[in-house]
Symmetry: C3
Subunit: 355 residues, 3 copies
């Protein structure tokens, strides 16, 4: 049997994207500056809008250090408690945050069964926030209502991190997306790139109803100097929510909508694809035209990103190709969350020299 | 938007009840004596009846030290494992115990889904107890059957803490209630108070069917010298269970039943209110007459306690008034549980000088 | 009341099987040799077939050291993360593994609600494996499909431990079974036992459809020199799966099938009994003839093993007799898992001198 031989050999990393060379190169590209990170101390993280370019760049640097230098981790969060509150179930994002927190030495209390909670019994979000104040040091919240995280802010005295609120935002996922792009090409952080050196990014999805895409576009607009164009590939006539396109254009992002995936693919350097878009309480899969596989006309050196879990829109026949950066993206998400959580809990001085 | 300004400002404690002055004053009021606490080593905590005045007072002192001196915590429970077994789901009480345990440095294994357990498959309580013996150092159990915790005692070789058993008892909640009262007025611990200095406590609820009230009344009877009267405010003709009133009177508590909340309120120093009373497997909310709001005729310096979560019986318009001690009560519950758990696990010598 | 007196007295171990004398005697019987354990570094544990006699013997020795010398535990797994993935719910096995991991100093992320996971949403096992690679250091998996653990192997870069896959195997339970037998009589490890010194083992169950029995028989075949005969006691005509009996006979195990429990009992030294056998997605309890109680014609010094939880097949009237080694078996399971996990995570050098 096949598995018997597999059990004979020791395990080892499968590909270069899980190695330490790329994060090390990214860390070396960025000059260390603790000041932007110090502003994150004891602050909520709700929207991608809260972050400026300098802060994001320093977060990428710290994440890259965590990823390339495991010995950096002196358990800076020892004695700190994370409340991991997933009122909308999600194994993947929950484990990513919890792994980040544990690797920093902290303890965790998880809420994974919405039906067993006060929220199910009609307790107000303000009362739940007040409860969390007493029991933990940071909250990570996922909820299927756009407003829930905002409604808790007034009552909170400990920071909250938005891990997905309805169809609104998912800012740490977007940070992981950008962290992956800059690990792929650290020079994209250069603010004086010639037009020819900039990248064209395709996003297969509906910006108006996909929280990952919404947050990603906001963060991309902070790095407009690296991007020649963002192409939204969608089979909807109006893929944006109200005001969304205007905001992105005002921020300097060149953005265009297209319908035909295969027409655009040959010119895209980064292809971001997502599984589903929410319509009310239900969701719809992407149309069957909007799928990627080895047969897709990808540029030879294009990379594919996907927040996972995937459906039929992303064929597994791409997994063993150099286009596969979605696994590296999932891996990197742990390190960017480590960087962010370290800053929020005011332990940045334990991993960096601070003024 | 309102939340955008909230995201700009750093978080800070909102009110004095979360500060360290009051617990420090309480700790200074009590002479340190480790001996009563040493008797708790490796003991079950099932009923409020098990505790005498001296032991409770020393627990309040240790809790106040934990609350006012975070540096006191040298992680005395490192390497110890809590089995957090909530066969009746409860986010609030579970997180309170788990936060207490984590803050002392211990690890936790949680049971939050009753349907996935052996108990659901018909395994006996004795076999479950035997299982717990092998896997943990302390059990915290919540169960909707009065008898369950008692049925496990014979098989247990590790201590168990009753976190609510049906309509019977919830002793650590009652400890948190009294801890709050003594933080409010430490001088109530004085055993030679004149009648005029004693307080009148109103309890809105049904002592016969509310486990929090049952345990609270037992603990109040240990501090009868501080209390001029306990007034049970209920719309039931017979709010006590069999023998309950007799036991409390015999313990020296002056106790009286009343029907009209607003008639009693002007003379009450402490008003304890609870949400629901159990009737068999169902529950009933308190009558609509038995509600508190800013319009209630409260004494200006009266405090309100509530074990939370709340329903309509306690208006949120009281949250920002000096009557609100229910949030301080929830916060203090973590520290009293830390004190109790430290003693049970025989680690009191790590936080106090012991003979 | 009975429980009031129970609350007065401090807790203490109830019987000798929970003491340290027997594991100490077992550890002293075995010469320390780290080499077989070093081969387990970073390896999957899927089947009992993977283990040879020397490796098992050294695991028993290390488990016995853990059980008899609590001070041995220098938290060798500090900073390591276990993904405890119980897609088939099981409180007992989950807590046993989690307790083992915590006692070694590691952190844990649990999946206890299959309905909230990607697997429920149709995510592939390969994608789940890839996710686990990023978030943890070891996976413990229970799943009700035989094939699931095998299907994850190709994608995994971190080790996985099979904690029960359908009706196929449960290798660590079998290790706990043998560890118990050798604690009972360490001399059974002697390879030159005379026939009269060997033991006769009865297994009440269906080897073809009970994963615990399947793994146990494989491990017993590695210690055939200690066994005069294994008697399978079953009311089925063909209790084996295809090829199972042939494999065991080829490995040197003397094996026989019998129908009448009470006819065999007087000649059995070890009686292993299990609760249920799986038939498709359902299960069947053992026949009413196949039950043990104080009335059963057991040899005076026979021991009973049961993987627990039990049903009616094992009477509680045996609990306080010397036949009861099933509680010691459950206790020992924690220590054998500690030994195995230490080796897999390559931390054996922290608890043994290694070359």
């Amino acid at each position: 049997m096949n598995w018997e031989s597999q059990l004979q050999k020791p395990l080892s990393p499968k590909d270069g994207t899980a190695g330490i060379e790329r994060p090390r190169a990214l860390a070396e590209q960025i000059s260390e500056d603790p000041n932007p990170l110090l502003t994150l101390s004891n602050r909520h993280v709700v929207s991608a809008r809260q972050f400026d370019r300098d802060t994001l760049t320093q977060l990428f640097r710290l994440a890259a250090q965590y990823e390339s230098t495991p010995a950096l981790m002196h358990l800076p969060l020892q004695g700190k408690i994370l409340i991991s509150a997933f009122y909308e179930p999600s194994t993947r994002t929950r484990l990513s945050f919890e792994s980040a927190w544990h690797r920093l030495g902290g303890d965790i209390m998880s809420i994974t069964d919405p039906k067993s909670t006060g929220m199910a019994k009609g307790e107000s979000l303000a009362d739940i926030a007040e409860m969390f104040n007493n029991y933990g040091d940071v909250i990570v919240l996922r909820n299927n209502q756009n407003d829930s995280v905002y409604e808790m802010l007034d009552a909170l005295r400990i920071p909250i991190v938005n891990a997905g609120n309805g169809i609104d935002e998912h800012p740490t996922q977007a940070m992981a997306d950008l962290y992956t792009i800059f690990k792929w090409h650290p020079n994209l952080l250069d603010t004086s790139l010639a037009e020819a050196e900039r990248i064209r990014i395709g996003i297969i999805g509906v910006p108006g109803r996909m929280r990952t895409v919404r947050s990603l576009l906001i963060l991309l607009s902070k790095f407009a100097s690296a991007i020649s164009e963002v192409v939204i590939i969608s089979d909807e006539d109006q893929p944006f929510s109200e005001g969304q396109e205007t905001e992105l254009l005002a921020a300097g992002l060149s953005i265009r909508v297209a319908r035909s995936l295969n027409t655009e693919l040959p010119a895209l350097d980064v292809v971001y694809i997502n599984a589903i878009a929410w319509v009310g309480d239900s969701f719809e899969a992407m149309g069957s035209e909007l799928r990627l596989s080895q047969r897709s006309p990808l540029k030879p050196d294009a990379i594919i990103l996907h927040p996972l879990a995937r459906g039929e829109e992303l064929s597994t026949d791409l997994d063993n190709t150099p286009h596969n950066w979605y696994f590296a993206q999932a891996r990197g998400a742990v390190f960017i969350r480590m960087a962010l959580l370290t800053c929020i809990v005011r332990r940045i001085s334990e991993v960096m020299d601070t003024p």
